[in-house]
Every structure is written in structure tokens, then in C-alpha cells.
């Protein structure tokens, strides 16, 4: 008799909690995968495709599904660190295949530049640009909207006359960074 009561009570409790869990899973259902959004927010949004995915969001989705976190070249180590923090995994050195070419001496961000006298107006770069930062029409000279260019490099390869090159942006008072090593502003007494 006691055993029967125990079974009944435990059964009732389990049924109750089962119902509760079932209700909660419906009531508090989360649409989509929020981790993808968080990852996407960490990526630099250059949409360059250097990671092998067509844009930052697809790479964020891939990372959420277990892709390596060290493939974002424009983001560099900072981004890897942030992603590692978010996902609770170890920081990895940047993938050699995805390392950015740092041979140039300037570390300023680069943007595409069209050598306008060479441009034949083929519109191939316009189709390649992921952020619509190239202005032009067929058989008309094209030009880059510097403020919109993310420096992703994707327009350089399709150009049939090689008239696009990546140039570092100019250093201005607005974007100048204090350099502790170069300029010693002395504190005096």
C-alpha cells in the first residue's frame, strides 16, 4: 500500500513538473539563435569574404555551428579574443591562410582607389562590392565612396584592367592617435 502511495505521489509530481517544463518551453520560446547575432556584432562587418563565407553574418552562423574562430582577417586578434570570450573557448592564433597581408609599412586602414584614367567602365567591381560603395555605370568611369568602403579587397581581383588599388586612408587631426613613443608631451613642474 505504501509503495503504491509513493509511486502515485512521485508520478503526480513528475507529471506536474513535466507539464510545467512543457509550458515553459512554449511560453519562453526563443526565436532564432541569439548567439549568431552576438557573434555578428563582434565581427568587423567588412563583408570581405576572406573567411570563406559570403559576408560576416554567414561566418557568424558558421562559428555558432562550430567553425574555427580564427578566420576573420580584418578583425584580427582583437576579434578572435572577443569571440573566444563570448563562446568560452581558447584564443587561437589567427589562421595562416586568413592572415592579413601586413607587408606594407602603414597600419592605417585601407580603402579601394580607382585609377580613373584606366577605368573602362565594365561594372565588374560594382557587382563585387558587398556594401555598394562603388559608383558608376556601364562604359562610365567608376569611383569609390571612401566613407562607405570597408577595405575588403573584393573589387581588386575582378577588375580586368587592374585599375583598382588599396590605399591607406589619410591621417587627419580627427583620426590621429596619440603615440606615446613618438611624441613625448612632457609633464613639468
Amino acid at each position: 500500500m505504501n509503495i503504491l502511495i509513493a509511486i502515485l505521489v512521485l508520478g503526480a509530481i513528475s507529471a506536474l513538473f513535466g507539464a510545467l517544463l512543457g509550458y515553459a518551453s512554449i511560453r519562453f520560446h526563443v526565436e532564432g539563435d541569439p548567439i549568431v547575432e552576438q557573434l555578428d556584432a563582434l565581427l568587423p562587418q567588412t563583408q570581405c569574404g576572406q573567411c570563406g563565407y559570403p559576408g560576416c553574418k554567414p561566418y557568424a552562423e558558421a562559428v555558432a555551428n562550430g567553425e574555427a574562430i580564427n578566420k576573420c582577417a580584418p578583425g584580427g586578434e582583437d576579434t578572435i579574443k572577443k569571440i573566444a570570450d563570448l563562446l568560452g573557448v581558447d584564443v587561437q592564433p589567427i589562421d595562416e591562410n586568413h592572415e592579413q597581408d601586413d607587408s606594407s609599412q602603414s597600419n592605417r586602414p585601407k580603402v579601394a582607389f580607382i585609377i580613373e584614367e584606366d577605368c573602362i567602365g565594365c561594372t565588374k567591381c560594382i557587382q563585387a562590392c558587398p556594401v555598394d560603395a562603388i559608383l558608376g555605370a556601364a562604359k562610365q568611369m567608376h569611383t569609390i565612396l571612401i566613407d562607405e568602403c570597408t577595405g575588403c579587397d573584393l573589387c581588386v581581383a575582378p577588375c580586368p584592367v587592374d585599375c583598382i588599388e588599396m590605399r591607406p586612408t589619410a591621417e587627419t587631426i580627427q583620426n590621429w592617435q596619440w603615440d606615446l613613443n613618438k611624441i613625448a608631451v612632457k609633464q613639468v613642474d
Binding site: 563583408q47 560576416c56 587631426i173 606615446l180 611624441i183
Partner: protein, 679 residues
């Protein structure tokens, strides 16, 4: 508010947290009057001398300009125009090094001074109290006045406020060591300054006007008290000397006891703060129609033999000022290789605590430069060192004691070194006013302010990048959406076009179908007739009898009955034979058409093959002849001694011929294989 005024009348003030008492060093220049300099040969005017945007150029290279003539105009409210400080000719508009710690170049106007100092036409205003608010604000904006205390915020924006103003605070504290520019300006121009204050009073209509001035300027205090003795609204508040009491938030705290919260502006408390030099510039602009073209600059430091305050035209190069004040160039100790030229002795723009060393003595004076400090080695040995004496933080906490913004400088320093931007923001780094008090008291000689400046710039940069990334993301998403829409639109269009084509085809085929079926039916009938004719041999009697019967029925109705009976009989006989005959006919027809179709197909194939072959042969022939022709022409041209060109043409022709032959070979192969397959 009344209690505040009572306290002020009793000479009691509040205190701000922290602060330091560095050696004042004001006596170097405070005893000498402001000197007017001879006109320099050249002036360099940066287009942007303030916070905000630069104006649009109004002049071109080669233009003659008069003193006070506007050189830029503002299309943006945050833009402030610049004016010609004296008459002369614009010789260049190009990038030049400006007074900025980065030593970067910005767009500057170069004026060759003609020495005549001819004024533009001025309209002197006799009674400013008759001017409307808009007129005064327009005059201030057109005169290019930006805050002359240091930041250079456009004044016409600051004075163009709607809400009720409790206090207008005039900042004459001038708390930084060495600087005496405001002190002497007040001493010499107190009447004009009070006029400027009255203009601001008219604009803002505050309940009270408080002039905050440190007690170390007795002559200036006396002059101000004399100038304001008939005006109860204006109170001259003599403050105890403490650095940085001239900071906007610190001054507000001292005078009113109110704290300006992080992220808010003094205007939220009903307070407007103006620098006293700005008041002078306002009175000059509104009353005398003199735009902001000159300012008082303190030339000081033990490396100068004649330190003094000077009236300096904007755009005057620092090197000119140093020469005028007898700069003794002390060579600094070089730790670098002996071959490299010795670095210039340090020249600091601004005060010793908040200024920056200028890399190039050619930089011009701008609206915000109040002091040029050229220290001697004994006076300021650290400025001559090319190395840092920084050692580890010993956590003494002195920096936190002196911080006027009540921040935690050592925590900030660690976070700045670790580049922990989140933590820096949480520690309110952006409330730091760069006063340098923490670095002044630091026993480990850590240049704390430098770390904060770097961190601030980095955080701003990061914020800009974040904004850009957000924009790039939006654009990327928009593009994806657009491409998707275009794709679906295209597909729809295709489908529609295909459907339309199909409909047309169906209509046509329906018409054609009926036509062809009619033809086919006709053909079939003819064939059937033929077949029937050929079968006639089998049924000659029957048909002949039938016909004769028909004739007979027409001619002799008498025999009709007999004929009918006969016909009946015949029909009975026919019905036994006819089915077999018709079957045979049909079979024959089907066989016939099949054979015909097969023949036609075979013919078509044969024809195609022939055509292919012949065309290939033809093209081969034609190219061969072409080549020959070309060869001939090439020979001709070589005789005309255009060997190079000819060779190129030949090479190109050869390459073309080669390519063509290759293509043809391929085509032939393909066609033969096709033929084989088809046969």
C-alpha cells in the same frame, strides 16, 4: 539662489575636490604691459581653429585682402569664419603644419603682409543696447569668435540659448602657472571687457553675473571692481588660488556649489560660462566691428630674455614671436647618435600642465593659443630629457587625492595600459579634463595624462569604427535584399515572358494544327481514293453495277423497285467484302507516310552533313587565301621599311590564323563525330 549670492557677498566659496598648488611663475610676465609687435612678413591662417567644421573659402591665390576681411564663410552652424589679420596678398592655399600635438598638416591660407594694415570698411556701433538678439548673434558669428580659453567652442552657439539662465559665469581664473594673458588684458581693457559682459547680459539675461578670478591678480581685480562698481548684477568673486579652478565644472562648483553631472552640460543647470578674453572679443566685434584677428599671448619661460605678453595677430608664426622675445636656444642633451642633428629645445604651446610641445616652430598662433612657454634647462629639466623617468606605480593614492573630477587615476592608468576600454568607460575616463594634476603629484613620474589621452583617442576611434561597421552591415543587408528582389523580379518577368510565348505558340499550333489536319485529312482522302482505285480491280463489277444502278434509278423509276432489290442484294454482298478492303487501305497509308518521313529525315541529314563539310572547306580556303594576302601585304610593308610594325602585324595575323585553324580543327572533329553519330 539667494543663499548662493549671500555666501558670495560674504566672500565664502565652495571647494572642489582635489587640486594642486604648483609654483605660479606668473611674476615673469605679470609686471610688464602688453606689447604691440611690428607686422610679421607672413601670416599662416589655418582654416579651422576651433571645434567644429571649417568654413568655405571665399578667396583665391593672388587675391588682395584687407584687414578684417572674411576669408571663409560658414555654411554650417558649427563652422566659424577666419578673417585676414592685416592687409596683404594671398600667396598660397595649401597644407601646412598646425598647432596640434600630432604635428599634422591642415589646409592653411598664406598671406604676404603688405605692411599698410589697411582696414576693410567698418561700421562702428554706438549703442549696442538697440541691437536685437539676432543682430548681436550674427555679429558674433560673423566675427569668427570661438571660446578663447582653450577648447574653442563656437561662441555664437553657446550664447544662443533659450532657457532661463540663472548664472552667467565669466571665467577669469587663469589658474595655470606662467600664463598672465587674461590678467593683463583685464588690467588694460577692463572697460571693453565689461561692455562685452553687458552684451552677453543683454543676450542671455541671467539672474546674476559672476566673474571668477583667482586672488593672485590684484591689479586685474581692482580694475574689474572699478569697472563694475555701478552695476549690482555683476559680482567680482575673488577665489583662492588653486589649480585647476579655471576648469568649467570646477569653477561652477566653487561659485555655486553645484555639480555638473557626468554627461550633462552647465546649461542644464541654467549656467553659461564664458572666458573673459572671449568677452573682450565680443565687445570688439559688436561695438567696433573688429573680427577676431588678434589675441594676447603670454611669451614666457627662462629661455626667453624678454618674456612679455604680446598682442599677436592670428597666423603669426611661433618662431617670429620667439625671435622678438629673445629666445636663447639651449641645446638639449642628446641620447641619440652624435650624427643626428640635436633636437630643438622644447617649446610648449599652452601652459606647463595642459600644453603640448610643438614639433615645429613654424606653426601659427590660432584663436585658442594663449601661451608659448620656452623653459630653460634648470627650470624644467624633464622637458629636455628624451627618455621617460617613469617607474612602477607604488599605489600611494596621491593622484586620487588631487583629481578634481574625483576619478581614480591609478585604476584608470592600469586599465589604459591593459587597453580595457570597457573598464575605462565604467571608470568615467571621459570625465577626465586632462588637467595633469595626477601626473604632477605622482612620485613615480608616470605620465598619467598621456595614457588617458591615448586611451580616449582609441576609444573614440573604436566608436567610429563601430558606427562604420554598423553602417557597412546595413548596406550589406540592403544590398542582399535588393539582389534578392531583383532576382525574384527577373524570375517573374521570365516566367511571364515564357507564359506569353507559350500562349502565342499554342494559339499558332492550334491554328496550324487544324490546317495541317485538314491537309492531312485531304491527303488521306486522296490516298484512300487512290487505294480504293487500286482496289477497284478487285471490285470492278460491284462498282460498275452500282453506278449503272444509279443511272437506272434516275432514268426509269419503273425499274426502281427492281434496282432497289438488286442494290440491297449487292450491298449485302459488299458488306461481306468491304471491311477487308478498307483495312488494307489504311495499312497501306500508314506504311507510306512512315517511309516518307524516314526518307525526309535521311535527306535532311545528308544535306546537313554536306553543308557542314562544304562550309568548313570554304572557311579553310578563305583563311588560306587571307593568309596569303596578308603575307603579301606584309612583304609589301617590309619593303616600305616598316619592319617592326609588319612583324607585329604578321605575328598577330599568324596568331589569329593559328587560333582559327585550331578552332576549325575542333569544329571539324566535332562535326565528323556528329556525322558519325547521326549516320
Amino acid at each position: 539662489m539667494e543663499s548662493i549670492i549671500e555666501r558670495i557677498n560674504q566672500g565664502k566659496f565652495w571647494h572642489f575636490h582635489g587640486g594642486i598648488h604648483p609654483p605660479e611663475q606668473k611674476a615673469i610676465t605679470s609686471g610688464k604691459p602688453i606689447k604691440h609687435l611690428p607686422l610679421p612678413k607672413q601670416l599662416i591662417l589655418p582654416l579651422q581653429q576651433h571645434i567644429g567644421r571649417q568654413g568655405d573659402l571665399l578667396v583665391e591665390v593672388g587675391d588682395k585682402v584687407l584687414k578684417g576681411q572674411a576669408l571663409t564663410q560658414s555654411s554650417n552652424p558649427m563652422a566659424v569664419p577666419v578673417h585676414a589679420p592685416t592687409s596683404g596678398t594671398i600667396t598660397a592655399i595649401k597644407k601646412s603644419v598646425i598647432a596640434h600635438p600630432s604635428g599634422l598638416s591642415e589646409l592653411c591660407l598664406f598671406i604676404d603682409v603688405d605692411g599698410e594694415d589697411t582696414w576693410k570698411k567698418r561700421e562702428i556701433c554706438q549703442d549696442f543696447s538697440k541691437l536685437s538678439h539676432q543682430d548681436i548673434i550674427k555679429k558674433i558669428a560673423d566675427a569668427g569668435i570661438a571660446g578663447m580659453g582653450g577648447a574653442g567652442f563656437p561662441t555664437h552657439i553657446k550664447v544662443n540659448t533659450k532657457p532661463d539662465i540663472n548664472f552667467l559665469i565669466i571665467n577669469a581664473a587663469e589658474c595655470e602657472p606662467y600664463i598672465t594673458a587674461d590678467d593683463l588684458l583685464i588690467g588694460e581693457q577692463s572697460e571693453a571687457i565689461v561692455d562685452g559682459i553687458k552684451i552677453l547680459d543683454q543676450l542671455l539675461n541671467p539672474a546674476f553675473i559672476l566673474i571668477g578670478i583667482e586672488g593672485n591678480k590684484p591689479r586685474a581685480i581692482k580694475a574689474l571692481q572699478q569697472a563694475t562698481q555701478h552695476n549690482d548684477k555683476i559680482k567680482v568673486c575673488v577665489l583662492p588660488t588653486k589649480y585647476p579652478s579655471g576648469g568649467e565644472k570646477q569653477l561652477i562648483k566653487i561659485l555655486t556649489g553645484k555639480e555638473v553631472n557626468s554627461g550633462t552640460l552647465p546649461i542644464d543647470l541654467g549656467i553659461v560660462v564664458q572666458n573673459i578674453a572671449t568677452c573682450f572679443a565680443i565687445s570688439d566685434a559688436v561695438i567696433n566691428d573688429i573680427p577676431l584677428i588678434r589675441r594676447v599671448v603670454t611669451l614666457t619661460g627662462r629661455a626667453l630674455s624678454k618674456p612679455q605678453n604680446l598682442w599677436v595677430l592670428l597666423g603669426t608664426q611661433v618662431s617670429y614671436l620667439l625671435n622678438q622675445t629673445g629666445f636663447f636656444r639651449e641645446v638639449s642633451e642628446t641620447k641619440s647618435t652624435p650624427n643626428s642633428p640635436p633636437p630643438n629645445p622644447p617649446v610648449i604651446m599652452g601652459g606647463p600642465l595642459m600644453g603640448f610641445s610643438i614639433l615645429n616652430e613654424q606653426v601659427p598662433i590660432v584663436k585658442t593659443s594663449n601661451c608659448i612657454l620656452a623653459p630653460s634647462k634648470i627650470e624644467m629639466p624633464s622637458a629636455f630629457d628624451n627618455y621617460s623617468n617613469e617607474v612602477e606605480c607604488i599605489r600611494c593614492g596621491q593622484c586620487a587625492d588631487v583629481c578634481p573630477s574625483q576619478l581614480l587615476p591609478q585604476e584608470l592608468q592600469w586599465s589604459a595600459k591593459a587597453k580595457d576600454h570597457q573598464q575605462l568607460i565604467e571608470l568615467n575616463l571621459f570625465d577626465c579634463i586632462d588637467c595633469g594634476a595626477c601626473a604632477y603629484v605622482c612620485p613615480s613620474q608616470i605620465p598619467l595624462v598621456q595614457y588617458y589621452r591615448v586611451a580616449k583617442a582609441e576609444i573614440r576611434q573604436q566608436q567610429q569604427l563601430d558606427i562604420k561597421a554598423e553602417k557597412a552591415k546595413a548596406r550589406f543587408e540592403a544590398r542582399k535584399l535588393r539582389l534578392e528582389q531583383e532576382k525574384t523580379a527577373r524570375k517573374e518577368k521570365h516566367d511571364k515572358a515564357a507564359a506569353a510565348r507559350k500562349a502565342v505558340m499554342n494559339k499558332k499550333s492550334a491554328d496550324g494544327g487544324t490546317a495541317s489536319s485538314a491537309v492531312a485529312a485531304a491527303l488521306a482522302r486522296v490516298k484512300a481514293k487512290k487505294a480504293a482505285k487500286s482496289k477497284n480491280t478487285e471490285l470492278p463489277v460491284a462498282s460498275g453495277e452500282g453506278q449503272s444502278d444509279n443511272d437506272q434509278t434516275e432514268t426509269s423509276p419503273v425499274k426502281a423497285a427492281i434496282a432497289r432489290a438488286k442494290a440491297k442484294r449487292l450491298a449485302q454482298e459488299k458488306s461481306a467484302e468491304a471491311p477487308v478492303a478498307s483495312n488494307e487501305n489504311q495499312k497501306n497509308v500508314v506504311d507510306d507516310t512512315k517511309a516518307r518521313i524516314a526518307a525526309a529525315v535521311a535527306k535532311a541529314k545528308a544535306k546537313k552533313a554536306q553543308v557542314n563539310k562544304s562550309s568548313i572547306e570554304q572557311t579553310e580556303l578563305s583563311t588560306a587565301t587571307k593568309q596569303e594576302n596578308m603575307n603579301e601585304s606584309v612583304q609589301n610593308t617590309t619593303t616600305e621599311a616598316e619592319e617592326k610594325k609588319a612583324r607585329i602585324v604578321l605575328a598577330v595575323a599568324k596568331a589569329k590564323a593559328k587560333a582559327k585553324l585550331k578552332r576549325m580543327d575542333k569544329a571539324q572533329q566535332a562535326s565528323t563525330t556528329n556525322n558519325e553519330e547521326s549516320t
